[in-house]
Subunit: 364 residues, 4 copies
């Protein structure tokens, strides 16, 4: 398997470039019999779409998904599902002006080394956040599959931006209204402050990072194939493949690492004849295997690398110092657009593990 695919039984292969003809995905291994049409995918893509509010890039893409294969009479057939969306509003002009200056924090330099100058740099090319649309296409199918077959549900939301955190864990009701505000944070007061910070960063020609929190309920106990395909190792791999992600933690994560076993262990009890834990510092995973509790994860996004402020850099051709101001249309903060991407990859990983583990058969 080469680098553009993820999964063992449910395999997503991503293709396309930011300013090429399209971005698309092939999802292989989806069981037959799942009701599926573009209407199941479009809403999730819409949530990721740029140009929706003041806190995101002004690039506008209709992002109309088309299913090219793998369904018949409104259901999946067991054949690979190819999906794509054609690129429309690709403005490559600002990239042409950039020439040989290496943008700090960008893939310019590493792609140059790795692909010998042949990479498509327009709009970030293959490395653009736009490629996460391909993850969302596949993830929307995986999410529907998980829900239909097992009742698994994933919800992800903005938990921190520019150092501003939610004041408390969100209520179930708040989780249902994540997409009410344009930063996608269930805590309205924190959301309002995050929004101000993002707009201030935009005005200053700067950018911000943040944290997306993901909570999955309904996952059966027993998912995960230790040692190296554990729930956590597969999720971590998926998260760190999202552009700008630099960290991931499960359950109590880094904070738990500073505590003691007596604080961090989740003790057991029986509730409605199910064995559950009172707390969930494990984040729903013990020994790499899901334990039936919610799977919780924090994902750290670095601040967007493309900033309008002047930055010292180097000309890759002449090797001379230079000063760069990145132009073009950029998100001042990608975090508000990231929750559907995290949802998508969580769904892909868990659906894959459900298939590998025999929790879902080849026909629904």
């Amino acid at each position: 398997m080469s680098g553009s695919s993820i999964g063992r039984r449910l395999v997503l292969t991503s293709f396309g470039e930011s300013h090429g003809r399209c971005v698309g995905a092939v999802l292989d291994g989806c069981p037959a019999g799942l009701r599926l049409s573009e209407r199941d995918i479009q809403p999730m893509l819409d949530l990721r779409r740029p140009g929706q509010s003041a806190v995101t890039t002004q690039r506008k893409e209709a992002d109309r998904v088309e299913i090219l294969s793998g369904t018949f009479r409104g259901r999946t057939t067991g054949a690979p599902i190819a999906m794509l969306t054609w690129n429309r509003d690709a403005d490559s002009s600002s990239y042409d002006r950039m020439g040989d200056l290496l943008r700090p924090g960008h893939v310019d330099h590493t792609a140059l080394v790795k692909y010998g100058g042949h990479a498509d740099r327009r709009g970030g090319g293959r490395f653009s956040g736009r490629l996460t649309a391909t993850h969302v296409m596949g993830g929307a199918v995986a999410r529907k599959l998980l829900d239909a077959a097992l009742g698994v549900r994933t919800v992800s939301y903005t938990a921190q931006v520019g150092g501003v955190e939610m004041s408390s864990e969100p209520s179930p009701r708040a989780l249902r209204s994540i997409y009410r505000n344009d930063v996608r944070c269930p805590d309205a007061r924190a959301a309002s402050r995050m929004r101000e910070l993002i707009l201030a960063a935009r005005r200053a020609g700067d950018s911000l990072g943040g944290i997306v929190r993901s909570v999955t309920t309904g996952a059966p106990a027993g998912l995960g194939e230790p040692l190296f395909a554990s729930v956590e190792s597969e999720l971590a791999r998926a998260m760190l493949s999202i552009p700008s992600v630099k960290g991931v933690e499960f359950g109590s994560g880094f904070a738990g690492a500073a505590g003691s076993g007596s604080q961090n262990n989740d003790t057991y009890e029986v509730r409605r004849s199910r064995i559950v834990t009172r707390t969930n510092n494990a984040g729903g995973v013990l020994g790499g295997i899901s334990n039936g509790m919610p799977i919780t994860m924090n994902v750290a996004f670095k601040p967007v690398s493309s900033i309008g402020m002047a930055q010292p850099t180097v000309n890759a051709r002449t090797r001379r110092p230079a000063v760069l101001r990145v132009r073009g249309r950029h998100d001042p903060c990608v975090v508000p657009r990231a929750p559907p991407v995290v949802d998508a990859l969580v769904s892909l990983v868990l659906a894959d593990l459900a298939l590998v583990g025999g929790f879902v058969g080849p026909v629904l």
Copy 2:
């Protein structure tokens, strides 16, 4: 590929159980011509070995590695390298007494669900930290390969225990003396406090977690196969497969996510005709591809689950509440034994990516 293997071109397959006959590994895909004998592996295994000091478990294993295949006349042949160490000091008595009580924080419950009661629970069975010896066997070969072929070097050390952190980044000299103290922290003063905390936790029947920091120098720019086999996604997967690890971050990681782009971007300059960055908030990886700067990573270990204190739990058979005191010989903190394991997996991942990316050929 099933769950016991990791890698694409350099594949480690781990086998064995804590109280079974042995723990071992098969490493497939190592180039031919690398000088290799048990003497290259034993020192790294020794660093991981239990029973070496007051801060670790009192189980004593000689952990003598034997190479069973894949070498001839002191060099690798290109054939799979099978290695193992026989288990000697396996005392299963305390586990027999445990019966059906689910140990909080342990894999008892999830393994029961997943393997229908057939898993070998003795000493943690397949899920024991002891299995990391198999990673170290393979990792020692990968480390030698990386050093011989590319001059890559990885050093990992204890950066935090029980909330006590190092006061500053270690000097190169301090990094060379990590194994001088038994907590493997290059900051002698912090090491001393960590040691006290660990011993206090042991006395209290409690346990601690912590953070291992890993720094790899000499890695060429261009490693990593975006999107889904990036340096970070492959390292994250490997780290989260280590028992007790619950989080990972690269470069400025979670802290960087709270900052701004202008702070976090690493600006370029030319030094000795190489393009380098002035800071390294990216942790040596941009767009999933190594950029030639040190690859830096923090790995969060949860506090050891096995604690002597009484804990409420459930009897898996009767489903009645119970109180458990975990006996047996346990580490009060695994962090001091973890650096060689992190080193090993970093080496395996980077050697694999070096082979995949054509940086190392089939014959040295």
Copy 3:
């Protein structure tokens, strides 16, 4: 990896259905810098295209390939290359009439069992020979890569139809004119007899099978990853994935199995300072590794299952006996259209092994 992909480093993922919107492929892992446009792929697709002569099906597909991603300024970028051709002339009417009768020799029954009735049966759906167009798309890229990087060339031709064989091994000149006749047999006299047999079978409502012979020159010694990714095991896997293929043999194959070692061993000599063998009963592969001699292979195609003659069968729904006459447009013999498909898969396999073995780097 699921069933729609082949390859380790150069991975082809096939999608589409015979009467769906399109058939397409994603090729991941192609090195950057290869000159590539639709003009490199179209000629090979044209050779496979239906409706070209009296010996093939009358379905007419322009089969215009479009490259959707992975190239920039006329060269590959290292990103996945998505390609497709839209279906135009899909006449599903005869399939609708077929109803629940199981066509002997077809996938009707097995697809029904495996996909629970959800498979797209129109025109053979996912199982149609039309899907080999996706192999040809990827194979055309692989062929160009092999030629550009290593000078490897594959030529495949019809060696037997309906029991009629070539009288002798073709001359190099004859191999250059394979596509002069519509059965693609380099022996003009045998080609003429094959043609007559095919037309007679068509008139009788019957069909024929045959053998495609493939010869690859210029492959370097050292390809293949024993034990399970040997040149022969990978080629065999690829060949047996072509619809209608039921057998494969390398070098002297089945005939050699009836002989003795003293006859079958290829003795060595030095020619122009290269170590070569005098004969090539090994078909260019020893111990699963290429030896630098031509890689030779015979591939057996069964007679086409769709025949116009009345055949006893069963109604899958009622489970009652029935009599079936398959209508629709079918090839009376697929062998004349198979050589480019065999070429394509040979190229994909050898290019993959060349990348895995370090014979080709990530940038041309």
Copy 4:
């Protein structure tokens, strides 16, 4: 996955060399709960063992299998099953004498090129037929799994040696007594002639090849993952990975390719409320998916390359012509020892596909 492993969900990794310390295998992905001990593996290994009769090599290996991991209290645990047998009777003396002369038909030359002279050549090293013992170890487990979970049974036998074929298809009774004669051919009269030919070849310092036929009953309809992991493509890959195998055909295979569709199509009927075919020219596989009929396959073995007769060759170091007489203990014909190897790989492939296809769950 590198070259020493086969399978997707049930993965066999083979290690060891002919004259090294041992040959062994790790089988990962076997469901938990299967009763398993050395007694389930030893009989199948014994059938493959050398030194049993006049028709095989005189090397004597007790080939005592030891299970090192993956079982507990007589059942599989879901953890990887490591197995090995120590090498005892390794006489490398004749190989030392061989020096730099390339043995015709052997891997000497290709291994030299591929592994730069570092391969272990003693007794064929990694490429020895002895390595098939590792396939048998894993295959014995797979066979038991298939039988216990699904009632699948594979029987393989010698169908041709030196051009002598069986006079007819064997009766069920004859199939039960395959191992009564030392050539493992169910037709006693043909067996007797084969035996004479083999002994004559031995006396002449020559060798013979032959065909092994394999028949699998009880396989459920629906196995196989088209396009590239079909039953036939996976079996073909496995067969062509056996040393000396140069061809494979399914059902009517090459002979069927010379016939017509009306002859070769298997018509359907309902028997005991099951849909079956009257004939089985398809060899139990349609469209790459098993159809519930017996899976039949012929496997062609070339004559053994090691022959005592003088053969012209080349000195790899000096590049001068030379004459070679291969000494050492060799089989004059490997076919009589091959049926358990074919059985083993058929079992591994089908068990893997059964797991991939959801026919067998993670716990028995």
